[in-house]
Amino acid sequence: MITAEISEKTIHRFSLKKALRESPVAQGLFLMGPTNTYLIIFMVIPLILVTALSFLSRGTYGEVVYKFSIENYVRLFDPLYAKILGYSLLVGLLTTVFSLVIGYPMAYYIARAPARQRSLLLFLILLPFWTNFIIRIYAWIMILRSSGFLNSFLQWIGIIHEPLNILYTPTAVLIGMVYEFLPFMVLPLYTSLEKIENAQLEAAADLGAPPWKAFLRVTLPLSVPGMIAGTILVFIPAMGMFVVPDLMGGAKTILIGNVIRNQFLTARDWPFGAAASMLLMVLTMVFTLYYTRKAGFGEELLI
C-alpha cells in the first residue's frame, strides 16, 4: 500500500493542459510559439548562414569555397567601400533629418486636428502603401525628369528657362527616400503627440509660458519617444535601401545596399556580399544603440 502511494506521487505525468493553466512560463512559450518558430526559420537560421558565409571565399566561377578566410572583411576596408559606406551613412542621416523636419509639423497638425478629421488624415498618410512601391518611384521619375511635370511647371510659370537636372542625382535619391520613409516618421510621432493631454499645454500657459515656449518645454520633450521611434524606423531601412538609388540615382549614386545586392546578383560573390551585409548590420546596430542611449531610451519612453 505504501509503495503504491509513493509511486503515484513520484510518477510525474506531464499534462499540457495543467501546465498551461498553472505555469506562466508554459503560457508564455505557448503564446510566443508561432512567432518564435517563424523567427527561427526565417531570421535566426538565415542570419547564422550569412554569418558563416561571410567567412568563406569565392571560387573562380562564383561558387562558394568552404574554406575559412577573413579576406572579405579585409577587402571592405578598401577606401572605395569605406567611401560608399560613409556616403550611405550620410544619405541615411539626411533622409532621417528631412523626414523628421517635414514629418513633425505634419504629425503635429494631425494630432491637433478634430477627432473626425484625424482618421481621414491618417488614412491619407497610409494611402500610398496601397500602390506598389516601384510604381510610385516611376511616378517620381515622371515628375522629376527633364521633360517631367516639375520642370514643365516651373518653366511654364517662368521661374526657370532651362530644365533642372534633378533626376539621376543624389538629390533625386534623397527626394525618393524621404518620400518613401515619411509615413514611418509621421506615425510614431503622431502617436506621441496625440498622447499629450491638452491640460498639459494649458498648465504651461497658466504658468506663464507663451505658446512657443510651451512647445519647446512641454510638447517637444514629450514627443521625444516618437522622435526616437521614427528615427529608428527611418534610419535603419534607409541604410540598406537599394531600389531608390538604382532607379532614381542612375549610376552616380551607389549606396551600401546596392553594393550588397550587386555582390549577390551580379558579381556572384556571395561571401563578400555576406560580409558587407554583416558590416552594415553591425554598424546600424551600434549607431542605433548609441543613439537610443544618448536620447534616453528606457525610462523616458515609459511616459
Partner: protein, 379 residues
C-alpha cells in the same frame, strides 16, 4: 486695488453641440469675488462651473460679457499673461520633469533668478509638506502627493487668484477630508483668493466663505453657506444642498410675517417664509428640511396650544432607521405624500418602545421659520 479679485459681468459662453445645435454653457452669469475670499462654484456636472473657471483662467473666451481680474478687463489677455494660476482636476503635472522642475517652471517663465527660484521652490514644497521629494518624478508620487505638487506649482507664482478645478476629486474620502481642512488652512495662511469648483455640496459648505450654486449655466444663488442652506432662493438650490422635503401648493395669503400656502393634496394650509415677491394664486414649492421637523405621538385629540410659530401636520410612521446620532423616520401624510424626519437621539435608552414604531400616528410640528416657500419655476 479694485474692489473685487475677480468679476464676471453678464457672461455668456455658447458651445456648439455634437448634434449641430448650440448650448449656453454659461448663461448671463454675474459674479463678484472679493479679495482673500474662498469662493466656491457648486453645481452638478454640466452646470457651467468649470467653464466659468476656464473663462477666468483664459482657456475659454466669453461669447459675450466681460471678465475682470483685479479690476482689469481681460478682453484680449491670454492665459499666460493673467495674474491667476490653476490647479487642474487631472493635476496636469509635467511628467517629463521632476517635482522641483514642475514647481520651478512658472518662475522660470517669469525669468526669476536661479538662486531665488531654488529658494522659493523649496519653500513651496515645504509648505505643502513635500520637502525632500523634489527629485522624484510625478509618477513616483501618490495621488495626494501629486495634488500637493500641483498646488505648490500654482502657489509658488504668488498669484492674485488661485483657481481650483475639483482638485480633490480623484482622492479617496479620508484623504479628501484631510485635504479640505489643509486647503482651508493654507488659504488662511497665504491670504490668496481661492476660487473652488466642486460638485460636492458638503465640501463647498465646509470650506467656502461664499458659494455660487449653479445649474444649467446660471448662477442661481450666491451667498454664505448658511444662507444657501437655510434660505435657499429657489427649489433647485434647496434640493441640491442637503436633503429636504417638498410639498407643492398655491399661495393663499401674503402677509408681512408669513406666506400662507394651501396644499390641495392634503387639504390644509401651511405658513412659511417666502423668498422674494409672491402673489396670491401662484404655484409654489414648500421646502422643509428633515432635521427641522419635530414629531410627537398623536392621541387623536385636537391640539389647542399651537402657537403661530409652528405648523402642524398629521401622519403615520412607515419606516424608521436608527443611524446612531439620530433616527430617520419616514412618514406618510396620506394621498401618497411622503416626508422624512430626522429625530435626534437625545435619550440614552435601549428600550425599543422609546422610539417610533411603524404604523404609529404622529403629529408633525414644523417651525414657520423653517418652512420655506419657494417659487416653483427657477428664474
Amino acid at each position: 486695488m479694485s474692489d473685487f479679485a475677480v468679476e464676471l459681468r453678464d457672461i455668456v459662453k455658447v458651445f456648439p453641440t455634437p448634434e449641430g445645435g448650440q448650448v449656453n454653457a454659461v448663461d448671463h452669469v454675474t459674479i463678484q469675488i472679493k479679495h482673500g475670499e474662498f469662493f466656491s462654484l457648486l453645481g452638478p456636472s454640466g452646470c457651467g462651473k468649470t467653464t466659468s473657471l476656464r473663462l477666468m483662467a483664459g482657456f475659454e473666451w466669453p461669447t459675450s460679457g466681460e471678465v475682470y481680474i483685479d479690476g482689469k478687463l481681460m478682453e484680449h489677455t491670454p492665459p499666460y499673461l493673467r495674474p491667476v494660476n490653476t490647479v487642474f482636476q487631472s493635476y496636469a503635472l509635467f511628467q517629463h520633469m521632476t517635482v522641483s522642475q514642475n514647481v520651478a517652471f512658472g518662475l522660470e517663465m517669469e525669468k526669476v533668478q536661479k538662486a531665488e527660484i531654488a529658494r522659493r521652490v523649496n519653500e513651496a514644497l515645504e509648505m505643502v509638506k513635500l520637502g525632500g521629494m523634489g527629485r522624484r518624478k510625478p509618477k513616483q508620487l501618490s495621488g495626494g502627493q501629486q495634488q500637493r505638487v500641483a498646488l505648490a506649482r500654482a502657489l509658488v507664482k504668488r498669484p492674485k487668484v488661485l483657481l481650483l478645478d475639483e482638485p480633490l476629486g480623484a482622492l479617496d474620502l479620508k484623504l479628501r477630508k484631510e485635504m479640505q481642512l489643509e486647503l482651508k488652512a493654507l488659504q488662511n495662511k497665504v491670504g490668496i483668493t481661492f476660487i473652488y469648483v466642486t460638485h460636492d455640496q458638503e465640501e463647498a459648505l465646509t470650506m467656502s466663505d461664499r458659494i455660487a450654486v449653479m445649474s444649467k449655466g446660471k448662477a442661481l444663488h450666491i451667498g454664505l453657506p448658511v444662507e444657501i442652506y437655510e434660505r435657499p432662493n429657489c427649489r433647485f438650490v434647496a434640493d441640491f444642498i442637503g436633503e429636504t422635503n417638498f410639498l407643492t401648493g398655491m399661495v393663499k395669503k401674503v402677509s408681512k410675517k408669513a406666506v400662507t400656502v394651501f396644499l390641495p393634496i392634503l387639504s390644509t394650509e401651511i405658513n412659511g417664509i417666502g423668498h422674494g415677491e409672491f402673489s396670491v394664486g401662484q404655484n409654489v414649492a414648500v421646502s422643509i428640511r428633515p432635521e427641522k421637523i419635530r414629531l410627537a405621538d398623536d392621541d387623536g385629540k385636537p391640539v389647542n396650544d399651537l402657537k403661530g410659530t409652528e405648523n402642524l401636520l398629521h401622519g403615520k410612521v412607515i419606516a424608521t432607521a436608527y443611524i446612531g446620532s439620530d433616527t430617520r423616520v419616514d412618514l406618510s401624510l396620506g394621498n401618497d405624500i411622503r416626508m422624512r424626519a430626522w429625530e435626534q437621539n437625545d435619550i440614552s435608552t435601549l428600550d425599543p418602545e422609546a422610539y417610533y414604531a411603524d404604523g404609529d400616528a404622529v403629529r408633525i410640528y414644523i417651525p414657520v421659520e423653517n418652512t420655506l416657500v419657494l417659487p416653483e419655476d427657477v428664474s
